[in-house]
Symmetry: C2
Subunit: 258 residues, 2 copies
Amino acid sequence: MNATEGWMALAQRLADAAGTVIRRYFRQPIAVDDKADQSPVTIADREAEQAMRELIVQAYPDHGIFGEEHGVTQGRSGLVWVLDPIDGTRAFITGKPSFGTLIGLWEGERPILGIIDQAILNERWLGVAGRPTTLNGKPVRCRPCDAVSKAALYATAPEMFAGDTAPAFERLRQAVKLPRFGADCYAYALLASGFVDLVAEASLKPYDYAALVPVIEGAGGVTSDWQGRPLTLKSNGTVLAAGDARAHAQALALLRGR
Amino acid sequence: MNATEGWMALAQRLADAAGTVIRRYFRQPIAVDDKADQSPVTIADREAEQAMRELIVQAYPDHGIFGEEHGVTQGRSGLVWVLDPIDGTRAFITGKPSFGTLIGLWEGERPILGIIDQAILNERWLGVAGRPTTLNGKPVRCRPCDAVSKAALYATAPEMFAGDTAPAFERLRQAVKLPRFGADCYAYALLASGFVDLVAEASLKPYDYAALVPVIEGAGGVTSDWQGRPLTLKSNGTVLAAGDARAHAQALALLRGR
């Protein structure tokens, strides 16, 4: 087993562990707390991340960890696991299974692998640099889309667009065939599977997109920020994902107002 | 078996038949046509409705039928089946299982029964006048919510609000704790199960809400149009559903601008 395969095996175990926690709490009466940014968090978010962190420390004590709920643990290896135990907590607490567990492994600015796991629907997308992305072990592929005017576009919610990103997003939304809100990370998974053409979001944190990059690129798609730059863990929080480079280029021009 | 039980048995068979069609086409490469109102329709919508209509005609040839895709068949009994084979076709064609099959039976202005069926998740909510609403046979109940400021609110998409309904909806959206788009009829099902407090929508057709009324009322919730009037098959297309009459009254006041 080479290094990548060891990391892949661990990533699967992380998703299993988070899923066990999530299934225990889904649609149960649990307390919902407000974080400093007024976003909700539950015991399910915290326990799922804790379970993943413990497995990482056991397996690779020199790896770094950057999790939404429990912060940063510096590593010495240059490798960092980027974790969002429940991306879409608002969906989770309203009983809607469009949330997901996001697990990314990066080495500096290079994404190595990513998982989008939907524990209620038992769907797991796995992307690994240089390999085809899979859904539950079967390869998936983005679909062609040669024009924004033919595209299905998703974003989680209008509230994520503020300042300059609001009119920019609106230009794109007006140009597509099918604009839709409300899919959280699941929208990116649907893009990797060829059912959605574009996802454009803003105000994201690294743990919201670190896992998505290898999943989408391994399915033939393209990711960048809204200036067209590759996503890194230090990006500005805007994300544009496309299943086809032509739709990506056109969407980028609309977002940039050109 | 009394009359209601016969209708309930048929309603279950209709949902089964629609689900068989939907599962066959979900996430398959099928053509998407644009209807006159620019909304999408697929062979899955048409075949699912046709399958239901045939079962109704066989069982109750004197019942009326009002379906989204194949229109109105007048009956002589005063009873009418109101069918939306896929409520949320945009979700369906993008692979997101928040769409549902809606089956309502009304006698004049009186709702008799309703089903919200999610064929991919195998979830079926059944509401029958005078009986507790069930999810897969187990009773469900709306949750208390004594103030709009504590409420989780869903609506399908901002595009459904035009003219006066846009600022009215915005007043409500600004007042709730958790506003969210993107759940189609599934939002009403989550309300009946006690995970969502309010759903406010506009531009709906009778087949979009006929099935919802008995499901929500049998779970202890309240439905009306945005003027507070009971929903009928001739309502104006605005719908406000609440799990708690207190939240309903406050939401109504916000929608009416009072």
